[in-house]
Symmetry: D2
Subunit: 321 residues, 4 copies
């Protein structure tokens, strides 16, 4: 962040931003080294790695985009930002008795820390933590189907778009190959940190990971985090300003699994990645940014997505530090 | 951060800040629950837990203080911010081949990750990482005495104060009880990640941890991190703006060991704590803050120091998120 | 040990053994400190801790017993000795590509080592290893029901007793609470070290753990391990002498989870315990011993069962060392 | 084992044993694949891998040998059997409050378990455990020099040979490269599980590892473990029969670090290896066997030494199982 007077979205020079997005997109679309799409389920594996899209929602509700910003993709773990927001709204800070707020220093699906810490996942963004969040959501709604419905309604509300939906083929494929997540859920249950049957929790989890959104939808959906908890398009409050700041803090320290420190060092923005190649980043007070490029780096984050954010944050002076 | 136009130190209302510091100090000085000072060496154990001081340097070079802001204390691990800065200046990014940038998720003196990761410490702020940084500094200066001199000269430069010094009694006491650190240094050496004898590296490490500074000195010394790498008092550049941002990012993700996530969540500022009860925090673009209260919480961070920063950041709207 | 004639059961003084069993039983039956039965499933939790039985089969086929040696109990993990024997008979040494032969140094249901070692369990007696063994058995028989039938036929063969059966209530209760084992099975599957669906493998596992036998049956069933692989009652060969020795070696180093070293130190005999309070021990060349007392010590092994074996081995001079 | 007369060395056919040793030696001397000698210190690295020697002491005091059975080599970790014996004689079972009796499942110099278990090493044969044993010996004698003298006197006593000595060049080389052991000693000290300065403990440790003995000396020195605690040559008691059995049990479960289970499975005898290429094995009641071949396998145990023991145990029917 440049820390000049221009600390809100309204002060951003639209022409400069438009040019930056166009040039970054042109450069990255021409790259031959794009990483490989996730290959553990067919619906992700067959996505063409040549896709690239980016969208920015400023806090004054201007929207900028480049590339395939309207093409829907599987948001995967980015959904965890929204399920956490929803669960905090229901359970409040009592949620933190069941899941920590510390970076894990381990891969997204590690089970090791779970054993050392008796079933309390390190944070809500690793898979084990997101399963606990899904369980918390289930505990109110009772049935997986209702809970999935509730999550979708929340996503439509924050995106201000009734077309947001989960892809049932992706959810089925996740379930068919999700033995590592089944291991985590059963382990959590055996530690007493799930209140609902592992199968129900997994059902909710696989469905919210299977939600499909475009960069434009995702940037709008995340804009409340950049705008003190309030959706700049609708003016409706989603969370309090303090809770928005705190969710941003969690994205900063835990949003990229064992690559979180490196991302903070290189880009300096709170963000959350998904294995579908999407990343949602927040520039507090200024903008939310969604980027999508399906090819992943070795840690399972979008290779060109990270690079796009690094280029954009550098050009626009967008860093919280 | 409120993300109002007031995004630099000059825009801060001095009266409001002055009042905030006085009221926070008055409230915390009256607390009976203050935690216990570190007890592993006599010079720290005999410090009166009733002490409390706080100092703020704004980026327009105004200085505000309350309580015992001029009383020197042992800065301990806060020194790691400055040795890292110095080592990056010498070795540049090649330093990152020897030490990581990820939160450790473990206690400050854990040796476990070191074995799993073959002698590459997770980050430069855990003890093992700081030993590697000390080794990097030694490799240029050749002798421990010279290296210690170089570190002191750097601290005097950034604090703009020739009186900064290490307390030899503290350094001796650290050495006499520093078997855990000796274990780490020998382990690193056995992995080939120290180039100098463990005893030399430990000598440098114990001395820079034994540096004594007041809150006022520390706030001035850290001001370059809030001011794009340039000391606001002297106008001299210490590091590039980008490097300042990156050091802030490391403080945010790794500055409080296994309490980093929680601190980011509660306070939302890059900061580094020391077992002497001091904390240095950075409000990018606006201010550096040093606080001191010798009593520690269960994770070895200043109990009232964290609380003071939480109160101050809340009152002033100072959060990067 | 030189397997000369004087090392066989025929040389044992029957009167001395009879007296030893009676006196040990009398002493242990009078103990008030008996440990607590396993409480994770009702069928085990409601077993009266006052039970005590012991039986010895000598390699000359004499049988000695005291206490409730004919009362059936749940053999639980003791069954792993027999499933391993059966799987080695089918898969031979290729089984060792999927499971190790080293003590784990961890609790019976730890999942940590599994992650560090990429899905290869340390040995066939910890739960993860036994699941791999169950999978190996399933791979031949195709259906869980057939595999369970095959295991039961094998147990009836070695015990020379057609009445051996699994208790369906115990198997159901194991399944209802077996989330830790479900976690292990799903984890193994995700590592590619199960060839059959986790549910099928768990079905086989829960059923063989639910087998019910008396001390007398169990001592007969294990006698082939003391007799060079040949059942002394029927004269039929079960395994080669070398394989019998090797199974004994595994029981010695891995039979009591993280209490294996201590048991070897105190008793000095290959043995395998079960959470139902039973222990099967082998005196190579001389005898197999089965003891049952439902109360467990802190590591999940029969408190008085271990003591009985310690007393018996001391009185009879039965130690492999 | 029933300690009846037929189980003693007197019943061994000397001609058969002599032939076995000659044929095994001839076969192994001709092998081209011999492994590599330890290369971490020059005195071990320059040993010719072509050496091979073997010696057997029967409990009736007959001695058999083949190859270079009289050539001295560095016994290294085999010395831990003797320091443990000596420390148990001094401290008795109270030693077990400071060191465990469980297999570690980890490499010989791992520091990980130490952290998880708060400074209590898993067993006396991993390096950390042997350092605690050395500390226990030091606590009585006060000075490293005296303690080293005491250990040497004990080795001369059990070997019945006044020429046993430590090689000072090896001890110096161990110290010069022993940073991993220095890490362990400092760590143990920091946990309060060493009573003497780490340097003193390391001095004792490096010296007893530097003891030089031949196969013939070593077989005689270990014979008390095969003979109920009594040296068959001198008739003098070293330890009680029960303690001899228990030391054998520890060698069985912990003698080969993370290869202990595999060795038990393949050879079935209590034994302890050293990185100098020696192995001492015990056939309870019958014999002690010392073998030496400097080339090591991947786990740091003598490649041909293990093979020799496997061949010998198979030919002579020597297995405790």
């Amino acid at each position: 962040m440049t820390h000049t007077p221009a600390q809100n979205g309204a002060a951003v020079d639209g022409t400069e931003l438009e040019t930056a997005l166009q040039e970054i997109t042109a450069e990255l679309q021409s790259r031959s080294e794009r990483g490989q799409p996730a290959d553990y389920i067919p619906p992700l594996a067959r996505v063409d790695p040549a896709h690239f899209g980016i969208a920015v929602t400023l806090t004054d509700n201007r929207l900028f985009a480049a590339g395939e910003a309207e093409m829907p993709f599987s948001i995967q773990s980015i959904s965890k930002v929204f399920t956490l927001t929803l669960a905090l709204g229901m359970a409040g800070d009592s949620l933190w008795r069941r899941v920590g707020r510390e970076p894990s220093g381990d891969a997204f699906n590690s089970i090791v820390l779970l054993e050392h810490e008796r079933g309390i996942p390190r944070n809500p963004f690793i898979n084990a933590g997101a399963l606990v969040v899904a369980d918390a959501l289930l505990s109110r709604a009772r049935a997986p189907r209702e809970t999935i419905g509730e999550i979708l309604r929340f996503l439509r509300f924050v995106a201000d778009d009734e077309s947001v939906a989960a892809d049932p083929a992706v959810a089925r494929a996740e379930k068919a190959t999700g033995h590592r997540n089944a291991a985590l859920a059963n382990y959590l249950y055996s530690c007493g940190n799930l209140n609902n049957p592992p199968d129900h929790v997994l059902g909710v989890y696989f469905h919210h990971c299977a939600v499909t959104m475009s960069c434009a939808q995702l940037a709008r959906a995340g804009a409340f985090l950049a705008n003190g908890g309030r959706n700049p398009a609708t003016g409706r409050s989603v969370v309090s300003p303090e809770r928005a700041r705190r969710i941003n803090a969690l994205m900063m320290t835990c949003g990229h699994y064992d690559g979180s420190g490196d991302f903070a060092y290189r880009v300096g923005l709170p963000s959350k990645s998904g294995v579908g190649g999407g990343i949602l980043a927040v520039v507090p007070g200024v903008a939310s940014v969604a980027v999508w490029s399906p090819g992943l780096n070795g840690q399972g984050n979008s290779l060109l997505g990270i690079e796009a954010l690094e280029m954009l944050s550098h050009r626009m002076g967008w860093s919280v530090f």
